[in-house]
Amino acid sequence: MSIIENKFRDNVIITSADKFMNWARLSSLWPITFGIACCAIEMMATAASRYDQDRLGVLPRPSPRQSDLMIVAGTVTFKMASRIKRLYEQMPDPKYVIAMGCCATSGGPYWKHGYHVMKGVDQVVPVDVYVPGCPPRPESLLEGFIKLQEKIRRESIATTQAA
C-alpha cells in the first residue's frame, strides 16, 4: 500500500512532462522591461489596461535575471547592440526574443542610409518571433506573443534548445 493511495481521489491529472513544462513556460512569459524607441510606446499600450497583455500571462519584470522574454522594441543602434547582447546573456534559460517593429527586424527606414543602425537585431541575439510594423499596433504584438506561445508548445525537454 503506497502513501498517496486514496489521498487525491478525482484531483490527479496525468500528463507528459513536456506538456506540463511547456504549459508552465508559455503561460508565464515575463519580458524584461526596456524599450529602445517609439515601438516601446506601443509595447506600453499593450501592457496597459486596454489591451492587457497580462491576460496572456505576459508580465514585465524589472530585471533580466527574472525574465525569460526580451522584446526588442525599437531601433537598435550599434552603440546599443552590445548592451542588448549583455542583457540577453544575463537572462536565465530558457529565453526567447521578440523583434518588435521594422527597425528591430531589418533596420526599417534606416535600411539604406542608417550608418549607425544595426540591420536587424538577429545579428546579435537569436530572434524567435518577428513582429512587422512601424510601429506595430498592440494587436500585432499580442499576436506575436500568441505565435511565441505556439512555438513553445511544440518544444520538448528531450531536445536541447538552440542557444
Binding site: F78, K79, A81, S82, W111, K112, Y115, H116, K119, Q123
Partner: protein, 163 residues
C-alpha cells in the same frame, strides 16, 4: 534691440572681427573671424545693452568647400536674438570653444565634433557623445563613406547599384 542694431554695435566694437553681415536673408546673421570669436561672444554676453545670456543652439554645417559653425543667441532679459556664423577650412577645422562663456555649449560642441570632426580648442572634455568611442569617421561630413563593418557587424546590407 533689433538685430540690425546688434550688428552695428558689433561692427563698431570689432571692425576686424566681423567678416560680413547678411541682413537680407531669412535668418539675418553675422559671419565673424574664428580668432575673435571668444572676444565677441563674451562681449555679447556681458554688455549691458545686449545681455545674450543664452546660447540656444550651436550647429555645424558642411558646405563641401568649407565648414561652418552657427551660433543662435538669445537674450532672456531683452528678448532679442542674433545669429553668428564662423567659417572654417575643410582640412583640420578648429576654433575656440565657448564653454567658458556658455556652459551649455559643452554637449553641443561634443556633438559637432562627433559628427563633423571639428575641433573645439579649450573644450574641457572633447570626446564623442552620440557614437561609440571606437567609431571611425565623421558621418555627417559630405565625403563620409560608411565602413563595411563595425565590430564585425554589417553596417550596409545594400550593395552599390541596388535599387
Amino acid at each position: 534691440m533689433e538685430v540690425g542694431e546688434v550688428f552695428k554695435t558689433l561692427e563698431s566694437n570689432f571692425p576686424d572681427g566681423v567678416k560680413s553681415i547678411d541682413i537680407e536673408g531669412f535668418d539675418p546673421s553675422a559671419t565673424i573671424e574664428a580668432s575673435s570669436l571668444l572676444e565677441i561672444c563674451s562681449f555679447l554676453k556681458s554688455d549691458k545693452k545686449l545681455k545674450f545670456t543664452s546660447l540656444m543652439c550651436l550647429s555645424g554645417v558642411d558646405f563641401e568647400e568649407k565648414m561652418e559653425i552657427v551660433y543662435h543667441l538669445h537674450s532672456l532679459h531683452y528678448n532679442h536674438k542674433v545669429t553668428l556664423k564662423v567659417e572654417l577650412p575643410r582640412e583640420k577645422p578648429a576654433l575656440p570653444s565657448v564653454v567658458s562663456i556658455w556652459i551649455g555649449a559643452d554637449w553641443h560642441e561634443r556633438e559637432v565634433f562627433d559628427l563633423y570632426g571639428i575641433h573645439f580648442e579649450g573644450h574641457p572634455n572633447l570626446k564623442r557623445i552620440l557614437l561609440p568611442d571606437d567609431w571611425e569617421g565623421f558621418p555627417l561630413r559630405k565625403d563620409h563613406v560608411d565602413a563595411e563593418k563595425y565590430r564585425g557587424w554589417t553596417i550596409r546590407k545594400v550593395k552599390e547599384g541596388y535599387e
